[in-house]
């Protein structure tokens, strides 16, 4: 593999804390190898800033393998940047060329207040899960795992929905800041499995109510969420959620 280097201009959102109004700051980075990851480019910049006695840029990141869902940069108007089905940490500098200018912002949504710079508070997602994103089975209650066969296709579809990493790119991409793709992924994951059946109605009802309470917007089915989802969570899940919700309403005993 060949390794090329490039010089870039970065315009990065800086915001001291949740009260601060925030602003863009411009940085020049030099000799960036195309083998680096996008976050390694930020590491290089931060090391330079520290050496110059300046404040480094704060951002969320952890596994750097595209699975923990921590990283969350809004790059040139797109959550996680230009590559399809990708997280910020897996974006590599091959995607850019010498002389490019890159604009980096945090996720923007009322329900995700900025903590500092590019780091936001996504605990609203945890509270949506608390509202019903689980199967109520205490440890020790399980029967033998193979006592209940599950059609392979259902298991595969459930897994595809469960692959959501809870990063919030769907919310960041949505003009309404809706969390519908995130929510529908969890509802689908559990509704497709026989184990999820007993709590099917109450789950979708309560989780939707919690989403509204957190200040996420409504879904207008534009599909921007699906287009940026690093795990390619399908819009079909939203139709499934709508069906689940309708069914729950129509057949409610209450």
């Amino acid at each position: 593999m060949s390794s090329n280097t490039m010089n870039l201009t970065l315009k990065v959102w800086k915001q001291k804390n949740s009260q601060d109004t925030g602003h863009f700051e411009t940085y020049q980075v030099k000799n960036i190898s195309d083998e680096m990851s996008f976050l390694e480019m930020f590491d290089v910049l931060n090391e330079e800033l520290i050496a110059e006695g300046k404040e480094p840029i704060t951002f969320d990141h952890d596994c750097r393998e595209g699975i923990c869902g921590a990283c969350s940069m809004y790059i040139d108007g797109k959550p996680h940047g230009p590559w399809l089905a990708n997280t910020t940490c897996q974006l590599h500098m091959r995607a850019y060329k010498d002389g490019d200018t890159i604009v980096v912002e945090p996720w923007r949504a009322n329900a995700f207040p900025v903590i500092k710079d590019l780091m936001v508070d996504r605990t609203a997602f945890d509270r949506i899960i608390q509202a019903g994103g689980y199967i109520s089975v205490n440890t020790g209650n399980a029967q033998d795992a193979n006592n209940l066969p599950i059609e392979k296709q259902l298991a595969d579809d459930s897994f595809a929905a469960a692959a959501c990493i809870g990063c919030g790119a769907c919310v960041a991409a949505c003009k309404n800041s809706s969390a519908m793709l995130f929510l529908s992924a969890k509802v689908s994951h559990l509704a497709l499995l026989p184990q999820g059946e007993p709590e099917r109605k109450i789950r979708v009802t309560n989780m939707l109510a919690q989403m509204d309470k957190e200040g996420f917007g409504a879904c207008t089915n534009t599909g921007a969420c699906e287009a940026v989802c690093p795990k390619e969570i399908s819009l079909t899940n939203i139709s499934r959620l709508n069906k689940e919700y309708l069914l729950a309403g129509l057949t409610s005993e209450k």
């Binding site: 520290i50 952890d62 608390q130 440890t139 399980a142 994951h189």
Partner: protein, 657 residues
């Protein structure tokens, strides 16, 4: 001094015996007992949810923004269980035996047998909680093989098994949060243990958003804070993975067990340059179907596809015909290093070997042709069909490889090299998972207990969930039953005040160094010392040098570190400084332990102790013990030995030939 509290009786009856006689806490008393859990990976999340379900008042802490992001999430390949669903001769005994042997006879028999016993319950529990494991067309669970075994006992969810298991445990945890049984503190880091009258009674934690220190009381404290592979700087661990919780406990009296036992995983994406911030694993499951090779000619610069079959050295198949590409990790890693050191490495750095899927693609393609009753199928069509099958099994891993390297692994063999992945060492615990401090427990990768000197693939997830779901709910009662009269201790108790002051003083000291070097640059240097001298091969001279170098680095750290920003704000550089300071101290202990253990076993390879064929040579007469180190003050430790008694799995020279 060391009492491992292993129950008496025959090996396969010990756990039943324990459960039948351990003390219980009645439901009304459970509501009055508070438990602190640090870390929310598989061990922490499963413990928090299970103990919350039992009625204890649980407080759980994680440094990530959500418990769902703990690094268990990144585990790829699978989880072992002795279900014998494949009818291929598996049993609790086999899983026990494979694990003991895989660990090169340096683990405790009783713990490992218990692990094998509960392994089946874990799969049942996870399926009930909605974990979407891979299934066959008949609707039943699918299995695959992992290294160091000859049966198929690994359950999986594509290459995202850890993610699916953690999401399962996380959901149960959030359910307990909703029910009010667990209080969750995310973006919090534990910075000290509070001990009162010799017992662990709480922690000092730092709110990473505000920078403020907090005091939290608990009748017991559980550390589920993961491994310390990041002491090497480059590892497959997450950027935030750290040893701080365990290390603070160590400084307060918890013994550290076998610190030098590190797992170097054979199949990782090689280092590409100095900018590298972490390494990425390519799951061991890839060795089910992939074949590992290097050219037979030294310094062969041809592209891999240009090298004909007869000029390739499938060195694992050659050296270990019985296990082939599925030898345990330590063996596979050393074999790769041996080939590269001898000049057969590939890629620009020459520090890589090939992991090749051409054969598997062809084999699966033929299988599809058969299955679909196709006739007159072209070679291209066979390959196309084969790629489809491989994509279904390993698609996410292949995609990840392509994103990182820019090469398409369906067309050219992957380049791989060993990297630090897991630490078998950790806080010493007894059979009940209690450390040498009363009321302080340690679960999952953070403890030393089940994997000996080498962990088998797909066993980390098993251990984390075993500890959290099925062990601690029983063993903690045995301690807390005697604590039911202890009222919650107010956090203005002098022990809390003093512990908080110590933490605050240290943070102030760090901030006031105002030197020139960044945390990152010092961490990198520590990593280099560790990798060069306490990595895949170790020798006496190197380890002695490493200790001197680490001590010097420590002085430099405390006199020339630069941390920007202030204390009372979100300050990731300060968070890292707190962690790296502890890694430096740990590094010294690891080298000391490696120096003391003048034998090779599992992942610990002392160059002075090898067979004629270059395999690890144990010295059971002198080293059949767990090294439990007691902290005695700066640069000083006292070694305690827990003798290992093998009543059932008699130690032999490990052979995979």
């Amino acid at each position: 001094m060391l009492n491992s509290k292993i129950p008496s009786g025959p090996l396969d009856q010990k756990w039943t015996e324990f459960k039948g006689h351990c003390k219980l806490v009645n439901p009304a008393n459970k509501r009055k007992l508070e438990i602190i859990i640090v870390g929310t990976g598989l061990a922490g999340a499963s413990a928090a949810s299970s103990l919350g379900e039992l009625g204890y008042k649980v407080k759980a802490f994680c440094f990530q923004d959500s418990p769902r992001r703990a690094h268990s999430i990144a585990a790829q390949g699978g989880i072992n269980a002795a279900k014998n669903y494949q009818n291929d001769g598996d049993s609790v005994f086999r899983l026990f035996y494979d694990t003991i042997k895989g660990g090169d006879y340096r683990a405790r028999e009783a713990n490992v047998h218990r692990l094998a016993e509960v392994s089946g319950n874990i799969i049942d529990q996870c399926v009930a909680a909605g974990v979407p494991f891979a299934r066959e067309y008949g609707g039943l669970l699918s299995n695959r093989s992992f290294g160091g075994t000859q049966v198929q006992r690994t359950f999986y969810a594509a290459g995202q098994t850890g993610q699916q298991l953690l999401i399962g445990a996380y959901q149960s945890l959030e359910r307990q949060v909703a029910l009010g049984n667990v209080t969750m503190y995310s973006r919090h880091e534990m910075l000290d243990i509070v001990k009162i009258d010799g017992k662990a009674r709480g922690i000092i934690a730092r709110n990473l958003v505000t920078g403020k220190l907090e005091r939290h009381f608990g009748h017991a404290v559980l550390l589920c804070s993961g491994g310390y592979g990041n002491v090497f700087y480059l590892s497959t661990n997450a950027m935030g993975s750290n040893v701080t919780a365990a290390w603070k406990a160590h400084l307060k009296g918890a013994f550290f067990g076998n610190p030098c036992f590190t797992q170097i995983h054979p199949t990782c994406i090689p280092v590409s340059g100095d900018h590298q911030s972490k390494l990425t694993l390519m799951s061991e499951s890839l060795r089910n179907d992939g074949r590992i090779w290097v050219p037979k000619k030294q310094n062969d610069t041809r592209r891999p596809n240009e090298i004909p079959e007869e000029e390739r050295d499938y060195y694992l198949e050659r050296r270990y015909p019985a296990f082939g590409n599925l030898v345990p990790r330590d063996v596979a890693s050393r074999a790769a290093k041996e080939r590269c050191d001898a000049g057969y490495g590939v890629g620009t750095s020459k520090q890589a070997v090939y992991l090749d899927y051409a054969d598997a693609i062809h084999r699966y393609g033929k299988g599809e042709v058969n299955k679909r009753n196709l006739e007159n199928v072209s070679e291209e069509e066979v390959i196309r069909l084969g790629k489809e099958v491989v994509k279904e099994k390993y698609g996410n891993l292949f995609d990840m490889y392509e994103k990182i390297t820019g090469e398409n692994p369906y067309e050219v063999p992957m380049r791989i090299y060993p990297a630090v992945h897991y630490t078998m060492g950790g806080l010493w615990v007894d059979y009940e998972l209690m450390t040498s401090v009363q009321g302080l427990y340690c679960l999952g990768e953070a403890n030393f207990s089940d994997h000996g000197a080498n962990r088998l693939g797909a066993s980390a997830l098993m251990q984390g969930l075993a500890d959290g779901y099925f062990v601690i709910p029983y063993t903690i009662g045995n301690y807390l039953a005697d604590e039911i009269m202890t009222k919650a201790i107010p956090t203005d108790h002098p022990a809390f005040v003093e512990a908080e002051k110590e933490v605050a003083d240290r943070i102030n000291r760090l901030m006031n160094i105002k030197g020139k070097q960044s945390v990152e640059s010092l961490h990198k240097r520590l990593g280099k010392i560790m990798w060069d001298k306490c990595g895949m091969a170790r020798n006496e001279a190197g380890l002695k040098e490493a200790i001197v170098e680490i001590q010097a680095l420590r002085k430099e750290f405390w006199s020339d570190l630069r941390i920007p920003g202030t204390i009372e704000e979100m300050n990731p550089e300060l968070d890292k400084a707190n962690r790296v300071a502890d890694f430096i101290e740990l590094g010294e202990l690891m080298c000391l332990d490696a120096l003391n253990r003048r034998e090779s076993c599992g992942g610990h390879f002392r160059e002075e102790s090898q067979t004629e064929e270059g395999e690890a040579k144990r010295n059971d007469d002198e080293f059949s013990y767990v090294a439990a180190w007691e902290y005695k003050g700066e640069h000083q430790w006292e070694l305690h030995k827990e003798a290992l008694n093998f009543e059932v799995a008699k130690p032999t020279q490990r052979s995979y030939k």
